[in-house]
């Protein structure tokens, strides 16, 4: 049934959502409400097409579908190509992106119903889908970078969807600028690699890095060989730090919760923030060439995981808890990649996409139910929703348990893959990372169960919570689907090393053995967290949240002062520099231009006096000219004599 779709051209995979986006944009601009209602049909259809084409081109071992389009060749011999490169790694991402995007779009028909800008929303979501697919289907740094920026733009558009609200407009700007910050490093890294390798292609770059590592290639731009191996990947990693919201550039993600919740589910949980992880996974040989770089990745990942988990403990906004949880789990993925295990990192990416999207969508369901409230996101005003919103409560519970790593659910398997990889590394850094990861597992379990209990258990703490009710089927069906996947996907991918051999693409892959004592330890941490949350929050608590009495509360609630640092020091510094430059521009450069204009004016004013309108004056001037001519003739004459 899927096979006929292989007859469709491969480039339609990333471009079908683009076509849908353009049509939706035209509909949005036309302002027609009736036409706006069919936009989700278009985008869902396009996403389905993409998914089905991908399904038809499932990679078999070493064989995979690939198409390249040469765009232009720079004189030095570097060619810029656009490609659809559907190997196993890309296929994984394509599957995740299309599946989650599809569910989010269906969910949005219910969530965004009646919103002005309905068509614009779907246009942006479809545009995002196209950009993300373009990113993962790239086989060269150029396309990767371009699509990287494109997803950033789509994120900006979607975070600022309700741009008339100042906080949303600020948040979208913040997201874009902070990720741009990281992208500067990314761009520099790309340039460095391309100038060394002479090509944008991943394969060429990896070959070059191998040559440098083997000592075969020593003539490099700017740096010595050893420094190059450290600097270039670190610069690329800057982009990942920005896009995947790692410390210290994680500050944009919590603010990005200003966007509609389905957007948060799609972009800031499952896909865009995973782009950084994907990039590192794709280019892992480049990173692996230097142990320093890998250590940096591990340290960044574990530090981020820890910081974000502690902050998530003390949040009162349901979406913010999930945002910090995402940051934390992305840190986990980077730990997995940093210890060299690409499969573990990707495994966690896939399972995380499922249950985090699920969690965000359930949060959206709750917010939608409470939308009459002044603060629909505030967990302190929730409670007792379990009885009123059964489907949401159950699916959310499944998602929470998956996140917490309850043995058997998908999160358990992927987390253990990472922990196992860290254990096998045997370096001091990896060992510290392992300890931190276990701690974070416990914290994750605690805060996620806290979230569930505050929202769904106990008695309603506000009027709006009493009147909450379940959403329409368009919202509950995706929840159910994702819940099922959160349960089964983990075990299914893990069994028989299915995922590992898929990614290995026909080459030999070592079978994964799970170290039993580590598995047990991890399980104990998760269960401890769950149990602790049940203890503290299981019964209705008094007016103050017990978490406020925890040690370090002030530090956590102030976000470890990272936000303050960026705002007060970095931003102020940048603004001061801007003011100085603006002064220079206004006074010196503008002044110069004004001087030129003023001089022209003076000259004109002076010359104006000669235009008196009196013919006799003009005649005088003519006579004077004649005198000069006569003088010249006289001089020439006497000179010639």
């Amino acid at each position: 049934m899927i096979a006929p779709f292989s007859a469709l051209p491969l480039w339609l995979l990333p471009l079908a959502p683009l076509v849908a986006a353009v049509i939706c944009a035209i509909i949005a601009v036309s302002g027609s409400r009736r036409a706006g209602k069919i936009t989700p049909v278009l985008t869902v259809f396009a996403t389905l097409i993409s998914g089905l084409i991908a399904a038809a081109h499932f990679p078999q071992g070493e064989k995979f579908a690939s198409q390249t389009y040469e765009w232009l060749t720079i004189r030095s011999g570097i060619t810029i190509t656009l490609s659809v490169h559907l190997d196993a790694l890309a296929w994984t991402m394509v599957a995740v992106v299309t599946f989650v995007s599809l569910l989010v779009q269906i969910y949005s028909t219910g969530y965004m119903k009646g919103e002005p800008g309905y068509a614009r929303y779907f246009a942006c979501v479809s545009m995002f889908t196209c950009s993300m697919l373009g990113l993962v289907l790239a086989d060269n740094l150029f396309q990767l970078y371009v699509c990287w920026e494109l997803v950033g733009i789509c994120s900006y558009l979607l975070i600022g969807f309700w741009w008339t609200k100042k906080s949303a407009a600020d948040a979208s700007k913040k997201a874009f600028i902070v990720t741009r910050f990281g992208d500067v490093g990314f761009f520099l890294g790309v340039l460095l690699l391309v100038s060394a390798a002479g090509s944008f292609q991943f394969s060429a770059v990896e070959t070059t890095i191998n040559q440098i590592a083997n000592g075969q290639l020593t003539a490099l731009p700017l740096f010595s060989a050893q420094t190059f191996l450290v600097v270039a990947p670190l610069l690329l990693f800057c982009g990942a730090v920005g896009k995947s919201a790692q410390f210290p550039l994680h500050v944009w993600l919590p603010d990005a919760m200003e966007g509609p919740t389905p957007v948060s589910a799609l972009i800031h949980a499952a896909t865009m923030v995973a782009a950084g992880v994907y990039m590192v996974a794709r280019l892992l040989p480049i990173f692996a060439a230097s142990q320093v770089v890998m250590n940096v990745v591990i340290i960044t990942g574990s530090l981020t995981a820890l910081i974000a988990a502690t902050i998530a403990l003390v949040q009162t906004d349901i979406k913010k808890v999930m945002a910090y949880s995402t940051i934390s789990q992305l840190g986990y993925m980077f730990v997995g990649l940093g210890v060299g295990n690409r499969d573990a990192g990707m495994f966690h990416l896939v399972t995380h996409a499922m249950f985090k999207a699920l969690l965000f969508l359930t949060a959206g369901s709750v917010i939608h139910a409470l939308h009459h409230s002044a603060a629909p996101n505030d967990m302190r005003l929730m409670g007792g929703l379990g009885k009123r919103m059964r489907v949401t409560a159950i699916t959310c519970g499944i998602g929470v348990l998956a996140l917490a790593g309850l043995p058997g659910l998908s999160g358990f398997w992927s987390k253990d893959a990472i922990l196992g990889a860290a254990l096998e590394k045997h370096t001091p850094v990896a060992n510290i990372a392992l300890v931190v990861a276990l701690l974070v597992a416990a914290l994750t379990a605690f805060y996620s169960c806290r979230m569930w209990l505050l929202t769904f258990a106990g008695e309603p703490r506000s009027k709006d919570a009493e009147h909450a009710h379940e959403g329409p089927a368009s919202m509950t069906v995706p929840l159910a689907l994702l819940a099922v996947l959160s349960v089964v996907l983990g075990i299914w991918l893990h069994a028989n090393g299915r995922f590992t051999s898929f990614l290995a693409a026909g080459k030999e892959s070592a079978p994964e053995g799970m170290t039993l004592w580590l598995v047990g330890l991890a399980s104990i941490c998760s269960l401890a967290g769950i149990f602790g949350a049940w203890l503290v929050y299981g019964k209705t608590y008094s007016t103050t949240d017990p978490v406020e009495k925890a040690p370090g509360y002030a530090l956590f609630v102030n976000l470890w002062y990272v936000e303050a640092f960026w705002t007060k020091i970095a931003a102020r510094g940048a603004l001061a520099t801007g003011r100085a430059v603006a002064w220079f521009d206004r006074t010196v450069i503008d002044g110069l231009v004004n001087v030129v204009g003023g001089a022209c004016q003076l000259l004109g004013n002076g010359l104006r006096r000669s235009a008196t309108g009196q013919t006799q004056l003009y005649t005088t001037v003519v006579m004077a000219g004649l005198v000069i001519v006569a003088l010249a003739v006289a001089i020439m004459q006497s000179g010639g004599r």
Binding site: G613, Q614, Q616
Partner: protein
């Protein structure tokens, strides 16, 4: 007399005519200056005819046409001055400065 004498007379008469055109405030006086300049030009022409090409008739035709043009110019110029007088009530050239920039 020599050619240069006549040419000097022509040059001086031209200068005087130019002075009159530039300096006088009455429009008719300006036209008088123009007539003087035209006469000076004719003197020059005939002097050149007499001393350089006495047997040719071309210069004489030229002078005749120039004379004709001077007469037509005087006629039209004075008609314009009369119009000016009728519309503005004055014939001072200073007053016609609508082209002032």
């Amino acid at each position: 007399m020599e050619l240069s004498n006549y040419l000097i007379v022509g040059a001086v008469l031209f200068a005087i005519g130019a002075y009159g055109t530039i300096t006088r405030r009455n429009a008719i006086a300006v036209l008088m200056g123009i007539e003087l300049m035209l006469n000076a030009a004719n003197i020059n022409f005939l002097a050149f005819w007499r001393f350089l090409h006495p047997t040719s008739m071309e210069p004489q035709v030229f002078v005749l046409v120039g004379l004709t043009v001077a007469a037509a110019d005087a006629a039209i110029g004075l008609a314009v001055v009369l119009n000016l007088y009728r519309d503005f009530g004055a014939v001072e050239v200073d007053r016609a400065d609508t082209l002032k920039g």
